[in-house]
Structures are given as C-alpha cells and as structure tokens.
C-alpha cells in the first residue's frame, strides 16, 4: 500500500521537484556559505511574500510577482550596498520585514485568500506538472551560469581586490551571482516555503564542508546531502503524516548534526 503511495503521480512530482531544488540549492548554497549571504537569502525569500501579494492582486501570476519583487529587491540591495549609508545587515532587515509586512497588508486589503501555511513552509506535494518544467529550466540556468563563471566567482570569493586586479569584472560577477540567487529563491519558495528556503541553501553546504577538499567537491557533496534529505523528508512525512517541507529540513538538520559530530575525527588537510 505504501509502495502504491510512493509511486503515485503527486509523490513522483514531489520527488522530481525536490531533486531539482536539491541540485540547485546544493550548489548555490555553497556560495551563500562562502560569501556569507545567508541573511541576504533569508531577506530575499521574505520579499517573495510581497511578490505573491502583488502577483495575485494585479492578476499577474504568483510566480511572475515573486520574480518581479525579488529582482527589484536584489537590485535595490546591490545599489544600496555600494553606498555605505547603513550596514548591510540593517538594510536587509529593514527591506525584508518591510516587504513581508507590506505583503501581508496587501493580501488583506485585496481580500486575497491564500494558504499561508503553504507559503511559509512550502507544499511540495502540490507541485503541478508545469511547475516541474519551470523548475527544470531554472535549475539548468542556475547550474549553467555558475559552471560558466565558476573560476572567477571563486577567485572573487577569496579576494575581490585580487580578482579585480587580475581583470575579473567584479560588478558584473556580483550582478550575475545576485540574479542566479534570485532565480533560485524565487523558484524554491513555492516548493519549500518562504521560511525554509534559506535552510535548503545553508545546511547542505555546511554539512558538506568537513568532507570537502575543493570547492567542487563541497558542491557535489552538498547536492548529495540535499538529495538524501529530500527523499528522507518525503518518505518520512508520508509515513508519519507530517508536513513535508519541515520534515525535509529536519532531516537536513540531523545530517548536519552527524557531520558536525564526526568532523573533528576527519583527517587534517580539509
């Protein structure tokens, strides 16, 4: 009976969606950890609620609204971070919670009924076939761009002055990274939810760190860890009848705990 459930259409779709998100977030998440963009990712996903509200209020699609607002949000942030008015974390806090609140106000003003629980914690079992195509295209784009600019992005992460002196166009690389991050967050929000997306970015990468000797190895291990958590989360949530998104993140957290416990016993040189 349980096997039947596992092979049913909606579970298969959930698995495929989860795999695509795991690959995308596993690789992107390494940059989030290396470049300390966790708070940025968190703020970006909070702004997605405003995007959803605007998308629904204007009759534009929900996804269109998310993309629009996330793009505006990251451009604004890039612009503001180049003029040192406030520290970045304060700026992020203001923008993120401002967007979240405006989103809620807007939803209420326009009397739009949404499944808030699904928006905050995701609903991977409700993924539609057309969502999968969009996810696949997005994951392909994110991975392709990161692969294409891998070396300059890593060099910029080590030291931006060195990269710039060696001719890496820093501003362009920053814009590229923000765009890729925007696509990742916007696509993942629907599936894993506004509150959980950052954990999908950070935890696989952080869990992979002790096992990796090179940036590529860390990205690969992060993807494997994210994939395992997706499978574990979906199966466990069906067995125990728990919400899928939080079950996946709980699985990730367990994997991280194991990694953190065994990492001191791993050999030096990592």
């Amino acid at each position: 009976m349980f096997v039947d459930l596992l092979t049913s259409d909606f579970v298969l779709r959930a698995l495929i969606a989860g795999f695509l998100i795991a690959v995308m977030c596993g690789v992107m998440g390494c940059f989030v950890v290396w470049r300390r963009m966790a708070y940025f990712g968190d703020s970006l996903s909070h702004s997605a609620l405003l995007g959803i509200a605007i998308g629904l209020a204007t009759g534009l699609s929900q996804m269109g609204g998310i993309f629009l607002i996330c793009l505006i949000f990251s451009s604004l942030l890039l612009w503001l971070s180049h003029r040192d008015v406030l520290t970045t974390d304060s700026l992020l806090g203001i923008l993120a919670h401002g967007a979240l609140s405006f989103g809620m106000v807007l939803l209420s003003l326009f009397n739009i009924r949404v499944d808030l629980h699904a928006l905050l914690f995701g609903d991977i079992l409700m993924v539609l076939p057309q969502d999968l195509w969009l996810l696949a295209a997005g994951a392909g784009l994110v991975l392709g761009v990161l692969w294409r600019f891998w070396a300059p992005l890593i060099l910029m992460t080590i030291n931006d002055q060195l990269a710039k002196a060696e001719g890496v166009p820093i501003l362009l690389m920053q814009i590229i990274l923000l765009l890729v991050m925007t696509v990742t967050v916007a696509l993942s929000v629907q599936v894993v939810g506004i509150l959980l997306i950052t954990s999908f970015l950070i935890i696989p990468a952080a869990t992979a760190r002790p096992f990796a000797r090179s940036p590529e190895m860390m990205a690969a291990v992060a993807v494997v860890i994210a994939l395992s958590a997706v499978v574990a989360g979906i199966i466990l949530s069906l067995l125990a009848d728990t919400p899928t998104g939080p079950t996946m993140v709980a699985s990730l957290t367990c994997l991280f705990a194991i990694s953190a416990i065994i990492s001191p016993f791993l050999s030096r040189g990592r």
Partner: protein, 255 residues
C-alpha cells in the same frame, strides 16, 4: 622611453572629501625596483590601488605600456574557513595558462605547500603562495602592497630576498609599499616618500639624507636608515656590482 611599463600622471584622489593623493606622478620602467614609504594614512595603499586599476582616481591618468602584464600581491588576506581550497588550486585558479606552473613552484620553493589547505598556511607561506600566483603569468612587473606586514623578522628577510632574486634573475620590475625600508635598502633602486604628495624620491642613500625624509620620519629614523644602509651596502657589493647613486632619473632629492 619605450621601456615604460606603467605611469601615473598627476593623480589626485579624495576619500570622503578628504584629499588622499595630490597630483602624484610616478613612472615604473623596466628594471625598476621602487619602494614607496610614508607614514600611516599617507595614501600609499590608495596610490597602489589607483596604479593597479582597483580605484579610478578623481583626476589624473594611469597609463600602462602596450601588452604590459603586471602581477599584484595584496596585503595579507583572510582565508575564508568555509571554502576548501588547497594552494595548488589557488595558484592555478582562473589562470589563462598553466605553462609556467612547474617553474614557478620550483623557483618559489612552494612544492611542500601545494596540497595544504589555504587556511592552514602561515602568514609567510601565504605570501609565498600569493607571490607565486602573481608570477604564473609572464609578468613584466609586480606590484605589492605591504607584502611582509604580518611576517616575523626571519620571514620578512626571506621574503625580501626572494623578491630581490626575482628582480635580479628575471628582470621583473617591482613596485611596492613597505614599512621595512631597512630591509629593502640594498635591493631597492628608488625610494619614493609619499605624504599625500611625493615629498622626495631617489636612490635610497640619497633619500635618507634628504631633509624631506627627515621631516617625514624624524631624524632618528633617517640616521638609523643611514646606518642600515652602510651595513647592507658593504655586504651587498660583494655580490652585485652596481651603483645605486647614478642610475636613476626621477630623483629630485639627490645632491
């Protein structure tokens, strides 16, 4: 002169409305070994950043000779612990060609470091790896910003010896900011004293006698430099027979 590698002309720059550089002109030609000295906040790092193209100055021009390649060694940088990266990968990262890899590794004696993670390297090892990275390309010059700042005394000596060897054997021009004037007195051919503008410039022994140098660093420092220089020079001439005094053009402090 066709051997000009890099020149800055009348560079003026402000940071937060404060004048940092005031009409600074500096030319680096083939065979040069220029050391920029000056008190903290004199604009040394800013000048280096302007010359390497990291900052666009408010006024003035930076010109690089056609096809001239310049390596850059930044100040000691922090290694991000979350990024796994060994020295081999760091040196070869984003390089147009790896043809010189074996030679650079051998020259800089960094073979034992290659498989070490960057975050496990000491300050001295970091600087050797950074220097090696800058040398991977067929560079005409290297620009260094206080390269030995965080090294202990032995490390500093070794680093400057290495730099001198690169200059002597490969003919690579060197431009650097350094507080360790006493260490580079024997190697450097030109000292530029910067305090927002160029106060004095010339061969090291001439500069240390310059009243402007004394004004900038105090008499004690100037006297100390003179002593250091005597010692180094006597020792140095055994190895290399060149005369620092007459081979330079841009000095106004000579006399």
């Amino acid at each position: 002169m066709s051997d000009i590698l890099l020149s800055g002309l009348d560079i003026t720059h402000h940071i937060h409305q404060r004048p940092i550089l005031d009409k600074v002109s500096l030319t680096m030609s083939r065979g040069d070994f220029i050391t920029i000295v000056g008190p903290n906040g004199a604009g040394k790092s800013t000048l280096i950043k302007v010359l390497t193209g990291l900052i666009t100055p408010d006024q003035g021009q930076v010109m690089r000779g056609q096809g001239v390649k310049i390596g850059y060694v930044p100040q000691k940088m922090n290694s991000e612990a979350s990024l796994p990266l060994n020295a081999r990968r760091f040196i070869t990262l984003n390089q147009p060609s790896l043809a010189r890899f074996d030679e650079v590794v051998a020259d800089n004696g960094i073979a034992p470091l290659l498989d070490k993670q960057m975050r496990h390297l000491s300050g001295g090892e970091w600087q050797r790896v950074l220097l090696a990275r800058a040398l991977m390309d067929e560079v005409d010059a290297i620009i260094l910003d206080e390269p030995a700042q965080n090294l202990d005394l032995t490390g500093q000596m070794q680093f400057y010896q290495r730099l001198d060897a690169i200059h002597q054997t490969r003919g690579i021009a060197i431009l650097m900011v350094s507080h360790d004037l006493h260490m580079v007195m024997a190697s450097t051919k030109q000292v530029v004293c910067l305090y927002h503008h160029i106060c004095c410039s010339g061969a090291p022994q001439a500069v240390t006698k310059d009243p402007e140098f004394e004004k900038l660093f105090g008499q004690d420092m100037a006297a100390m430099m003179a002593i250091y220089h005597h010692q180094h020079d006597a020792h140095h001439d055994h190895h290399h027979h060149h005369d620092h005094v007459c081979d330079h053009h841009t000095s106004h402090g000579e006399g």
